[in-house]
């Protein structure tokens, strides 16, 4: 049997942190670290080397985006499943663009949560209908907004990707989407993952350009 998946829980609420850790341990995960603060979490992660970080979007010290950036620098390839108690639209979108691989509302049922963790660990992208709506909205915004640089066009979704995201936003499960579009479950998953990949790539390009423009390179 392979070694258990190493998970780190970052949440400023102690009760929540303990509850989640207990559930994860019971489900066979190795909870290697917990933290209630963003900066501390990044430091601990450098030593604990988790595979998956369960990250609360609202931490007392730094923003979710900063934590995600720090985690990716310290632990390249780490997967981040974001949790939030409220649907802070723009914050969620920013965190996903920064490199989180999944998002779940805190009120999700236990089974749903564990399923999301196992999918995140396996490298899948976990989308809620709300997140799909946000991502679609973001692509439409980028398509209509005047581009910062004409040589580099705004990222676009293929028709199929748009179709899949719309169905996710309407609350269909990947299985239902696969049935409806006559695709394999894996293909649906890949389409969702691609949309996020395009958004994250675009975000990195934008950040790099900004850095060059500001003379920070």
């Amino acid at each position: 049997m392979t070694a258990a998946i190493r998970v780190m829980v970052v949440d400023d609420h102690p009760m929540w942190r303990e509850g989640v850790s207990r559930d994860l341990t019971a489900a066979g995960y190795d909870v290697v670290a917990t933290s209630g603060e963003g900066r501390q979490a990044v430091r601990i992660a450098a030593a604990a080397r988790p595979d998956v970080v369960i990250l609360d979007l609202q931490l007392p010290d730094v923003s979710g985006v900063e934590v995600i950036n720090g985690l990716q620098t310290e632990v390249p390839g780490v997967r981040v499943l974001m949790l939030s108690a409220s649907g802070e639209q723009q914050d969620v979108l920013d965190a996903m663009k920064a490199g989180a691989t999944g998002y779940l509302l805190k009120s999700a049922a236990q089974a749903e949560f564990l399923d999301a963790v196992s999918r995140t660990a396996a490298g899948d992208t976990v989308f809620t209908p709300g997140l799909a709506g946000l991502v679609l909205g973001e692509f439409r915004r980028l398509a209509t907004a005047p581009p910062a640089d004409k040589s580099e066009p705004a990222p676009k979704l293929t028709e199929r990707e748009t179709e899949v995201l719309r169905l996710v936003a309407k609350g269909l499960s990947y299985r239902q989407i696969a049935e409806r579009l006559v695709l394999s479950h894996r293909t649906v998953q890949n389409h969702v993952q691609n949309t996020l990949g395009k958004l994250q790539l675009h975000n990195r390009v934008e950040l790099t350009r900004y850095a060059i423009e500001q003379g920070l390179d």
Partner: protein, 377 residues
């Protein structure tokens, strides 16, 4: 009222009146020196000037203190000034005054009128100006244009200052209301943060821990989840939809529908539509939600999805509960019995849009409303 008047513009106005009084005293002293040889009783001019100087000092300090800035001081001011004015009859002499020699209180006698206008508003200012003007005219006993002009100018000054005070008062009240509102908003935001950091987290935890349990524990978890969702939309929900020009944010209108069984998704930014279109769409969504409640079992999940296209807005209401056989829907619609037909199709058609209803046995019912974006000219 007194409180509102003790702040803002009032203090500088009192200082300005004090400066005016001192300047007028210097001016009238100069006139006395020039004309004193023509006076009937010139000896008395000096003690009266001393009284005027003393009264200038008294009023400068008196009016500077809000506690003493009351009716007794105002009345005393008016009477002392009128007495000084009247003393001109004896000192300057009625014949000299009739010839055009200025009174001993010229210009200085306007100060109490301004005080009334600042302290008690326009009407009191006018009354004081009429009394002082009458005294001036009677004392001088000649009725040419320059005599009238002095009184009319005093009257106009009283009206202008009184009006200014009223505007300052209204502005002050508005400012106070705005400050109160801002404080209330900040308090609400602080409460929202607190609730978010504590109650919301615990409720979500209770719901999660108990979700798999049967019986009463499961029921408690479900209730906790309902409360969590209700609180969440209360706390984190977008601000109420404020009309911008003639437009409303559709997302803000639809967000109140979010709950434990209703997910609302759409772009992060506002989806602006003409106010009428937005309200009608909300009503259509409400009808679609009612329809789900009526026809499907409790606990049916509903997904509201808003798409903001350049030339149209698409709102989808999908439930994962009971798929209605398409022919049954059409049949009921043909008979005009279905709420869906009238409420949704009717409203959306009135907006120049179209409705598509997709229903499959395993995949619930999907009501897709597409409404054209009317270009804002």
């Amino acid at each position: 009222m007194a409180d509102a008047r003790n702040s803002g513009l009032e203090a500088p106005l009192w200082r300005a009146i004090a400066v005016y009084r001192i300047a007028a005293l210097a001016y009238t002293s100069g006139l006395v020196i020039v004309y004193v040889s023509d006076y009937w009783h010139p000896v008395w001019a000096w003690p009266v000037l001393a009284v005027m100087a003393g009264w200038t000092v008294v009023t400068t300090y008196g009016y500077a203190d809000p506690a003493r800035r009351r009716t007794p001081l105002l009345v005393a001011d008016q009477l002392v000034t009128m007495a000084v004015l009247t003393s001109s009859l004896y000192i300057v002499g009625a014949d000299e005054l009739a010839l055009g020699t200025p009174t001993i209180a010229v210009a200085w006698h306007v100060a109490p009128v301004l005080c009334w206008a600042v302290a008690r508003g326009r009407r009191a200012g006018i009354t004081a100006a009429l009394a002082m003007g009458a005294t001036d005219l009677v004392v001088r006993a000649h009725w040419d244009q320059s005599a009238w002009t002095g009184t009319v100018l005093m009257l106009l000054a009283a009206i202008a200052v009184g009006y200014l005070m009223r505007i300052a008062q209204v502005a002050q009240e508005r400012l106070e209301r705005a400050v109160e509102l801002e404080a209330a908003t900040r308090e609400r935001e602080r409460l929202a943060r607190d609730i978010h950091d504590s109650v919301l987290q615990v409720l979500a935890l209770v719901k999660r821990r108990g979700a798999g349990l049967d019986g009463e524990a499961g029921e408690l978890a479900r209730l906790a989840g309902e409360q969590e969702a209700a609180l969440r939309s209360l706390v984190a929900g977008r601000q109420t939809s404020e009309p911008v020009g003639d437009e409303l944010d559709l997302m803000a209108l639809l967000h109140p529908y979010a709950g434990p069984d209703v997910t609302v998704s759409g772009p992060a930014g506002a989806v602006r539509l003409p106010a009428h279109t937005a309200r009608e769409l909300r009503a259509a969504v409400g009808a679609a939600l009612d329809n789900v409640t009526r026809h499907c079992g409790p606990g049916t999940k509903v997904y509201l999805f808003v798409e903001d296209e350049p030339d149209e807005v698409v709102v989808t209401v999908r439930d994962d509960g009971c798929g209605i056989a398409t022919d049954r829907l059409a049949q009921a619609e043909a008979q005009g019995r279905l709420g869906v037909a009238q409420s949704i199709r009717g409203r959306v058609a009135d907006l120049g849009g179209r409705v598509q209803i997709v229903s499959a046995p395993d995949q619930g019912t999907e009501v897709e409303m597409t409404v054209p974006r009317v270009p804002i000219s």
